[in-house]
Structures are given as structure tokens and as C-alpha cells.
């Protein structure tokens, strides 16, 4: 699940570009491609559709009628607003922490050459590959061990562990493509280390930083497994969903919230995608 949200550059930082072959794919391939897309995206459309249904209990198809009533209901419920606010605050803070820590780590790793570099890189990427449940248990154990009350800050810390990796990956790929001669040219012309960072390195990694931050935000916003272990009594939006599934009343309200979540997470992902792409084309 988390792997699917990786940035649009590959490991070597090369933009993945399809060749503009003159030959058109065969009919079979095209049909198969559309079938695959439909399989992936029709369920999402169903969710959207049932946010507008007049039937509040079943998923009868077609819906007996369409209404905006459930939007009114959802907007009036304070528990939804509370969960939404909490999720936004967690995501914002986790993103901020991971932007700072992730880019500093990337800068340190790209500048230095030492023997343990390979193993450290592996350790850095590991939280992304580790199953959420393992991260969750590990964090919970650590929280218990340090006798911290789980709550807002523990959620932020938990999310930051894997959000850092997203930012780190994005920034390190960009820094690897930064020719050392640019930094040398800057120093040669009289800029000290800070000026070189400010005028040359930062502008070069800005889009990568922004893209990584947006992906991190989207990732944190809908994270549930690690959150369940670190949340204590707090209820983020995904946890609210999870609880709501067992309550049959007002079912379309969950669909309404799902639509809102989709929009909230989709915008940053689209922005991140277009940012990395335009930066790749410019270089």
C-alpha cells in the first residue's frame, strides 16, 4: 500500500518516459488496459455515487434517488469535524518534521562518503518497507517503556518515521543529480557554504522537497495501522471511518466523508506529480 505512493522518479532519478512509438498497441491490449483501469477505479466511483443516494441502509443498485442531504448531515456532526481537524494537524506536523529531518539526512548522506553508507541507507529506507503492524507494535512498546501517554504527539512521531523516508528519497534522488561542479563554481565565485546552500542547492531541491512533503502529507492523512497503536484515545479520521463501519445508521455519511478525504489527499498527490515532472523536464 505504501509503496504505491512512491514518487514518480525511479531509483536513479531518471524520469520514466514512454517512448513515442509509431505502432499502435493491438485492440486486445487496449481493451485489457481499460478493463484493468475499470477494475481499479470503479469501486471508487461507487463510493462517490452512494454519497448521493436517498437510501440510508443498503447498497441497492441503482440508487433509488439522488440527494445532497447527507452532506448537510455530515457537516453538522461535530465528531467528524474533530477527527478531520486532528488528522490535518497530525499530517501537517508530521510533514513539517519529515521535511526538516528528511532533507537534512539527505544532505548529509549525499555529501559524505564513508564505509557504512550502504547499511545506513538501508536502515533509512527500512521504515517504508516494514509492515505497518511491526512499526506500530514497536512504537507502542517504546511508548509504554518510556511511560509516555499515547496521544497527539505519539501519532505525529509514528507518522514521521515513514514520512521522513518519502522526503529523504525524493531529495536524495535530486541531490544525486546535482553536478558537484555547480557547488564548486559557487564556492569559486566567493560564496561560502551557507550562501551556496541558499542560492544553489536549495532552489535545486525545492521542488523535490515540496513533492516529498505533499506525498508525506497524503500518506499521513490516511494512515491507520500505525495510528491505531499510537493514538491512545484520540480519533483520527481513518479511525473514525473504522468505527463507523460497524454502525448501520446514516451509512451514506461515511461515503460523503470518503469523498472529502479523496479530494484532500488527491490534490497534493497530483501537485507533487506535476511538480516533479516539470522539474525533470527543465533539467
Amino acid at each position: 500500500m505504501r509503496f504505491e505512493r512512491r514518487p514518480s522518479t525511479d531509483g536513479n532519478g531518471q524520469p520514466v518516459r514512454s517512448s513515442n512509438a509509431a505502432a499502435r498497441p493491438s485492440l486486445f491490449i487496449r481493451v485489457a488496459a481499460f478493463a484493468g483501469l475499470a477494475f481499479m477505479h470503479l469501486p471508487v466511483l461507487v463510493i462517490v455515487l452512494y454519497a448521493f443516494t436517498t437510501d440510508d441502509r443498503t447498497y441497492a443498485f441503482p440508487p433509488p434517488g439522488l440527494t445532497l442531504h447527507w452532506f448537510d448531515v455530515a457537516f453538522a456532526r461535530s465528531d467528524i469535524w474533530a477527527a478531520m481537524r486532528l488528522s490535518l494537524r497530525v499530517a501537517a506536523l508530521a510533514t513539517l518534521c519529515s521535511i526538516i529531518l528528511g532533507s537534512l539526512t539527505a544532505l548529509a548522506m549525499s555529501r559524505s562518503r564513508f564505509r557504512a553508507k550502504e547499511s545506513i541507507t538501508f536502515l533509512l529506507i527500512l521504515p517504508l518497507a516494514l509492515p505497518g503492524i511491526v512499526t506500530g507494535i514497536a512504537l507502542l512498546t517504546a511508548i509504554k517503556f518510556a511511560s509516555i501517554d499515547p496521544g497527539f504527539w505519539t501519532i505525529v512521531a509514528g507518522h514521521t518515521t515513514f514520512c521522513i523516508v518519502i522526503v529523504y528519497n525524493n531529495v536524495v534522488a535530486r541531490l544525486r543529480r546535482l553536478p558537484p561542479s555547480w557547488i564548486e563554481a559557487s564556492m569559486d565565485l566567493g560564496a561560502d557554504g551557507w550562501q551556496t546552500f541558499r542560492y544553489i542547492v536549495l532552489p535545486q531541491m525545492a521542488t523535490a522537497l515540496l513533492a516529498g512533503g505533499m506525498l508525506a502529507f497524503a500518506l499521513s492523512f490516511d494512515e491507520i495501522i500505525v495510528t491505531l497503536f499510537t493514538a491512545g484515545h484520540e480519533r483520527t479520521l481513518p479511525i473514525w471511518f473504522f468505527n463507523e463501519l460497524f454502525r448501520p445508521r446514516d451509512r451514506p455519511v461515511t461515503n460523503v466523508v470518503a469523498v472529502v478525504v479523496m479530494v484532500v489527499t488527491f490534490i497534493p498527490i497530483l501537485l507533487a506529480y506535476s511538480l516533479t515532472r516539470s522539474a525533470d523536464e527543465r533539467n
Binding site: P179, S181, W182, E184, A185, S186, M187, D188, L189, G190, A191, D192, Q195, Y199, I200, P203, Q204, R282, N283
Partner: protein, 349 residues
């Protein structure tokens, strides 16, 4: 004259490669100095040591008689034109050129004015608002030159600056660079692997081989008095004659020259039966290759003792029967002989 740059027994190793090996040299202020040598001979490393991107493992580097070995690049009065130009892609041409002033906190108006002045000097003021990727290779080269000159450095370092340009542009830029250097009076240290470029532009040339200076001399000095076999071959591609053949040709001559060089254009090609005068060295062999170059042809001749020599003859004296496999005689005047030192040459200054 004052000394702009001095190397005192400078050594720089990468792992177990001695990239620069005990180099000792002095570059005068206002000089056009070339570092010439094959790829991997340590020229770039020397430049990077001067610029401050690398620190020597041992030895000292002095700029204007001050030791700078410990100074970072931004505290040295030296600027570099990079081999790949290293222009900043997120800045306009004007911003690139003004960068050296910007980091020194010169006022915006002054930055603008002087950057435009520098761009006018390299005839690119019309390109000021463009981005580097909108320029041709030759234009980028000039922008990087203007950028490096804006701080009015005492020394300009150029690392194969013309290597990426096509032949015609390269020849134009050679003349332009030489003029610029004369006009500004700045010390130029120019790295190249192209001996023609070094000979035509430089006041003095250091020939590098495996991290050492083989010879440091004026272009004419290098060409007419190469010290070592390496220099004789690398500069102008002379024939090097050593060992038994050298002994035999030198005959009972006054000194027992261990090795000497002869330039192809000084070797006279003739038919075998021609007899020779006494002040001439002479040998015989078979033509293995003829290359026609228009005004002259180059003949590769295999001697009966196995050595391969090259003779160049103007087209006017070419004989129709000088073809591959025909026997010819080679002869040259003793004045054309350039005596060489034995293999392990010491650094000369």
C-alpha cells in the same frame, strides 16, 4: 616580474594513484601558462589544487607569495572556467554572471551594471535575460568566462575550456581568449590535452606525464629542444631513436648519445642507391603506409632492424614509386638531431 602561483613539491594521491607527484613550478603574473598532457596526467588535479577544491597531501601552494594551502575556495583570489561550464540552470544569464557580486553583497544596481559590462565584453549582452539552456555551446562558454571574470581575479583557471566546441569555433575562441588575456593582463592557467592549442596560445607550457612535469619551457623551446622521449613524441610527434640503432647511427660521434629525436619533416626520403654525405645520418627500410595530407605526405617506414619511423615530405618531391613495400632510404642532417635525456627525467624549471 612577480610570481603569481608557486607549487613547492606538491603531491596529491587518490588511493594509491599519485595524481600529482612532487610538482614544483612557478607561474609569473600576467603569464599565459598552459598545462599540457595526456588524459589522466594530473592537469585537472593541479587546477583544483590552485582553486582550493582539493588540498595537497604534502607540499605547499602559494598565490602571490602567500601560502593558501589551508584557504577555502571562496577566500582565494582565483576563478575557474569549468570544463562543463557549470552554469546555474535556475538563473538567467545575467544572474549567473552577477553571482560573484551577489554573494559579496554588492548593491543590486551595481551588480546589474557590471554584469552587463562583462557580458558586453564577451559580446553576449543581448542574451542577458535568457536561461543557460537556451544558449549554444559557444555562448555558454562565454557566459562562464564572463562569470569567472566579474570578480576581477588575479588568476583565471581554464580546464579544457574549448574541448566541447567544434573546430571552427575552437579556433575563433583561441584567438579571442588570447586577446582577452592580453587586454586584461590576468594570469591564465590553461589546461589542455591538445598540443597544437598549447603551442599556439601559451607563453610557457608545462608538459605533464603521470603526475609529474616532464618539461617546462616556451612553446618553441619544447618543440625544438624536447628533453625526454615522452615530450618529443607528445609535442609534434617526433621520431624517437634509442638503443642499438641510436648507437649505430651516431657512429663514432663525439658523445655517446643514448637516445635522440628527429622530426618527421626533417627526414629526407630517397631511393636506396643514393649515396650520402658525411654530416648526414642515414638508414634504410620499407614503406608500410603512406598518408596523403594535401601539401605533404607522411610515410611510415619499417627499418630492417624493426623500428618504425615517420617521414614527412612535401608533395612536390613525391615519387610515384614510393608505395607500400618499396625500399627507401631515410636521411637527416646532424643539425636536426635533438638529443634526449635518459628515461627517468627530473623536473626542470
Amino acid at each position: 616580474m612577480t610570481t603569481a602561483i608557486e607549487f613547492r613539491d606538491v603531491t596529491k594521491c587518490y588511493g594509491n594513484v599519485r595524481a600529482v607527484d612532487g610538482v614544483r613550478l612557478q607561474i609569473e603574473a600576467g603569464e599565459f601558462f598552459a598545462m599540457l598532457g595526456p588524459s589522466g596526467s594530473g592537469k585537472t588535479t593541479c587546477l583544483r589544487l590552485i582553486a582550493g577544491f582539493e588540498a595537497p597531501d604534502s607540499g605547499q601552494i602559494l598565490l602571490d607569495d602567500n601560502a593558501v594551502t589551508a584557504l577555502p575556495p571562496y577566500e582565494r583570489d582565483v576563478n575557474t572556467v569549468f570544463q562543463d561550464y557549470a552554469l546555474f540552470p535556475h538563473m538567467t544569464v545575467l544572474e549567473n554572471v552577477a553571482y560573484g557580486l551577489r554573494v559579496r553583497k554588492v548593491s543590486r544596481a551595481e551588480q546589474q551594471r557590471r554584469a552587463l559590462e562583462m557580458l558586453a565584453l564577451v559580446k553576449l549582452d543581448a542574451m542577458a535575460p535568457r536561461r543557460p539552456h537556451q544558449l549554444s555551446g559557444g555562448q555558454r562558454q562565454r557566459v562562464s568566462l564572463a562569470r569567472a571574470l566579474i570578480n576581477q581575479p588575479r588568476v583565471l583557471l581554464l580546464d579544457e575550456p574549448l574541448g566541447a566546441l567544434d573546430l571552427k569555433l575552437r579556433e575563433e575562441m583561441q584567438i579571442e581568449l588570447k586577446n582577452l588575456q592580453r587586454r586584461l593582463g590576468i594570469t591564465f592557467v590553461f589546461v589542455t590535452h591538445d598540443q597544437g592549442e598549447a603551442l599556439s596560445m601559451a607563453d610557457r607550457i608545462a608538459v605533464f606525464d603521470r603526475g609529474r612535469i616532464e618539461q617546462l619551457d616556451t612553446p618553441r623551446g619544447l618543440y625544438t629542444r624536447p628533453n625526454t622521449a615522452f615530450v618529443a613524441k607528445f609535442v609534434g610527434g617526433a621520431n624517437v631513436i634509442e638503443g642499438a640503432l641510436a648507437q649505430r647511427l651516431a657512429g663514432g660521434a663525439s658523445h655517446d648519445a643514448p637516445a635522440f629525436a628527429v622530426r618527421a619533416e626533417n627526414i629526407l626520403l630517397g631511393d636506396v642507391r643514393n649515396s650520402a654525405a658525411t654530416d648526414v645520418m642515414r638508414c634504410e627500410g620499407t614503406i608500410v603506409d603512406v598518408q596523403y595530407h594535401g601539401a605533404a605526405s607522411r610515410y611510415q617506414v619499417r627499418l630492417s632492424s624493426g623500428e618504425l619511423l615517420t617521414a614527412a615530405a612535401p608533395d612536390s618531391i613525391h615519387q610515384a614509386h614510393w608505395r607500400v613495400d618499396s625500399a627507401v632510404s631515410l636521411s637527416w642532417s646532424r643539425d636536426a638531431v635533438m638529443p634526449l635525456q635518459a628515461a627517468a627525467a627530473s623536473n626542470s624549471t
